[in-house]
Subunit: 358 residues, 2 copies
């Protein structure tokens, strides 16, 4: 161990061969018709002047940035509509891959169910790190706070019955599933790139999580190829038409404000089926001792108010609070929790009910 | 178009559906026994104090960083030794995925040849962006310089016969295949994480490119699970034993220095087969008008000197300068160039000759 400033640094070297989880080996092979990756959307900065290949200065050079990066897999006999998966705050495409405890995530689960799967890193995140804005990123210890906000428990305690493995190897992978933004998260930049993806691949079902929930609503207003949205624990950004927005909802994580948009834009969200899921261990009334979880009480309440307004205007929004249908113990990441097959089954059932799995 | 400071910004929105290249659709399906992702290696910063879940300050919190991120695929009836692919400077795992012009890269090509394929993002890059050091990253236009250094041509001209598609969509994808480092590239950090990967998965063949070439030699000294190395255009960091290092080699990109290591460490590299490839359009003598390409003249010359020293001590290093065996037009990225099947065939043949493809 070395002392780095006031901080303690521990080096983690794995020196023995660790076998991969047996569970994944029992599955049938994935039959992939096609797989690959690409950048989509973004912008180009061009420095004035003429490029000199000997001096190699900035004059006349370009910088391509702010694109999304996408890795896609199309299974044999794929269903018509692909699923496009969009991570949340502090996260990247890993959200949908192997779970922290080494089981299959939604990437593999839905490939096995014959959906084409597109995993996106939003602009300025993960493999799409080439940002057009300057960024300074500091390694600030913050993981016990995320443990609370993501409702695994209240550090150092896990919630009783939480759908999360309590071993240290799982927690190590969980914390390493985060990666910073290279610059501000710009709603226009991230939704433009996702709309460009829809323009490139055509009709799709968008699956969002947390922070991307709000961006998903905006993207669907920008591109009609987004035929449906499934959103896991969307955070801020529920868009109400002017005159129909509720009051802010207080929580010990701070007040949650509704977003107001033009009615013409809002009405676009009444044209597609939408399902929203929230997990367990959300306080039922303002909890000053647990701000990490309490913010989700406000978001769940806002989601229900929003669904009512969209549905009043002819929309088709369903809000599922998982414990209310008997699905207990889910964290902020239901799709990678221990019961993620059950969570996937719920999504499959909904997709079928809406004719989205042809 | 908007003016951003002195820089011109162009927004690139794809608004029509673009079909994916037909070429990839003609292939047989990929049969994947298992696929997934994980973080490996890295360190942990722990802030002193006790975490307070209400205040949520830095006290007592942790920060897991400096791991590598790995996405792996194991095909049905996989060969014994996996190929672990390590990107070069400014790059990430995309290096080995879909080529800039939309063809299959080494990821798919070697899966089809029944190798398990592990694609790594080195610590502080791409999906492994959670860095333990502070970083400030600026969007400096630099792409015409890379066009030269990567030997596509001398901007705005392509080299005659270069194995690179000359359309703008290809160049767009090519430039967007870069992503910045989040903090200094630390040889100890990146080689520790790669050695940890070898510790986790066991015996493997390491495939390096450019900047990771030098790191590959160090990693093989750290972990004997690295059973062979294939290196595409390794840059600096050729390790010579004390007393046997050559003089620096001048180039218009600056002098190339040899690296000196303890003889005991050096001798480890005599125990494994190594192949090194360089592409075309490398000057034959110091070219003051083309520093981008001239640096490769020095690196190729140093590689040959290094191979001689390793082989003198009983090693097995082969340096292939592709034009000398009739393979013309390759850039700094032979594995994604237009003739990448031919390049893959050369690697397959070498792996077979060394008994590495059982």
């Amino acid at each position: 161990m070395k002392i780095l400033g006031i901080l303690l640094v521990t080096t983690c070297l794995v020196t023995t061969t660790i076998t991969l989880p047996a569970q994944t080996k029992k599955q049938a092979p994935l039959m992939i018709e096609e797989q690959g990756s690409f950048a989509v959307g973004g912008s180009v900065i061009t420095a004035p002047g003429v490029y000199d290949p000997v001096k190699r200065g900035v004059d006349g050079q370009t910088f391509h940035g702010d694109h999304a990066y996408v890795f896609y897999q199309i299974p044999v006999k794929a269903r018509k509509l692909p699923l496009v998966f969009w991570h949340g705050i502090g996260q990247f495409s890993k959200t949908w891959e192997t779970t922290p405890d080494g089981r299959e995530g939604f990437q593999n689960i839905f490939l096995r169910r014959q959906f084409s799967v597109y995993l996106m890193d939003q602009p300025r995140r993960g493999n799409a790190g080439r940002s057009t804005v300057e960024a300074t990123i500091k390694p600030v210890p913050d993981e016990q706070s995320w443990f609370g906000t993501f409702r695994v428990g209240i550090w150092p305690n896990y919630f009783p019955g939480v759908q999360f493995s309590k071993d240290s190897a799982t927690l190590n992978q969980y914390f390493r599933s985060m990666t910073p933004s290279l610059g501000a998260i710009d709603p226009t930049v991230v939704t433009d790139a996702t709309a460009a993806l829809a323009g490139k691949i055509g009709d799709l079902v968008l699956v969002t999580h947390s922070h991307s929930g709000g961006f998903g609503w905006i993207t669907a207003m920008k591109n009609t190829h987004i035929r449906a949205i499934a959103s896991y624990e969307p955070g801020s950004g529920f868009p109400f038409p002017a005159g129909e927005a509720p009051a802010p909802i207080a929580s010990s994580a701070g007040p949650l404000e509704p977003t107001v948009v033009a009615k013409e834009e809002f009405l676009k969200l009444t044209k597609i089926p939408i399902i929203i899921y929230y997990g367990d261990n959300i306080p039922t009334q303002l909890d000053p001792n647990n701000p990490g979880a309490d913010g989700w009480r406000a978001r769940l309440a806002m989601a229900k108010l929003w669904a009512d307004v969209v549905n009043k205007h002819g929309g088709d929004v369903t809000v599922v609070h998982l414990p209310e249908i008997g699905v207990k113990g889910n964290t902020h990441f239901p799709f990678s929790d221990l019961n993620n097959i059950e969570i996937a089954d719920l999504l499959s059932k909904w997709l079928k009910s809406k004719g989205l799995d042809k």
